[in-house]
């Protein structure tokens, strides 16, 4: 069965600090990779996604993620965080064979102004 592991449960940063959230998955077949974000009081929404092509994908609000197939990783990065980035971040893997997604257990990011 596929699984998704997010390395950090809670990250606290000051504004302008750089961010990297780790995500590793275990599945050998064809996968699509996602980062979702849930801002306080809002719906879960897509931050960025990877299907194929350039392994470095860019999402909304200055976020990017790099797919490293050999490491089964899809880490999320942002060079300079803002207070408004405070949210919960979920990595997800969609298996085309299984026809469903598996989510990591989330990382809560708190950015101090």
């Amino acid at each position: 069965a596929q699984s998704v592991s997010q390395h950090n449960h809670h990250v606290i940063l000051s504004e302008a600090a750089s961010l990297e959230l780790g995500c590793n998955y275990s599945y050998g077949g064809t996968v699509n990779l996602f980062w979702y974000v849930q801002y306080p009081g809002q719906h879960l929404q897509l931050l960025l996604k990877y299907f194929s092509g350039d392994p470095l994908v860019k999402g909304i609000k200055g976020f990017e993620a790099e797919f490293i197939k050999s490491k089964f990783s899809f880490n999320l990065r942002k060079p300079s965080v803002q207070w408004s980035d405070t949210a919960e971040y979920f990595c997800a893997v969609y298996s085309t064979n299984a026809g469903k997604s598996t989510f990591g257990d989330g990382t809560t990011l708190t950015v101090k102004p």
Partner: protein, 115 residues
Amino acid sequence: EADIYQTPRYLVIGTGKKITLECSQTMGHDKMYWYQQDPGMELHLIHYSYGVNSTEKGDLSSESTVSRIRTEHFPLTLESARPSHTSQYLCASSGLAGDGDYEQYFGPGTRLTVT
């Protein structure tokens, strides 16, 4: 903002009651999902559907049941609610069949408390 709706947003109910959580989407998506999420925890897939009259159980065992009689509607029912069912329930939908788009659109969730 995605066109996926859940009602009620909040529900407090006594043990033993039957409840139905509603989920509707207006995007014509074939695939729909129900997740259970406790605060600060991961999303657990409890049910999913590929289309009308198609329902499957997810990774997390659940005493709830679902139905998919119409494309846009995917209700979840608990025949007899228990305190262990207290959680947040998220509905999601994705893509049109065959288009390769597996991005999921989420509803606002229903926060259920069983007393």
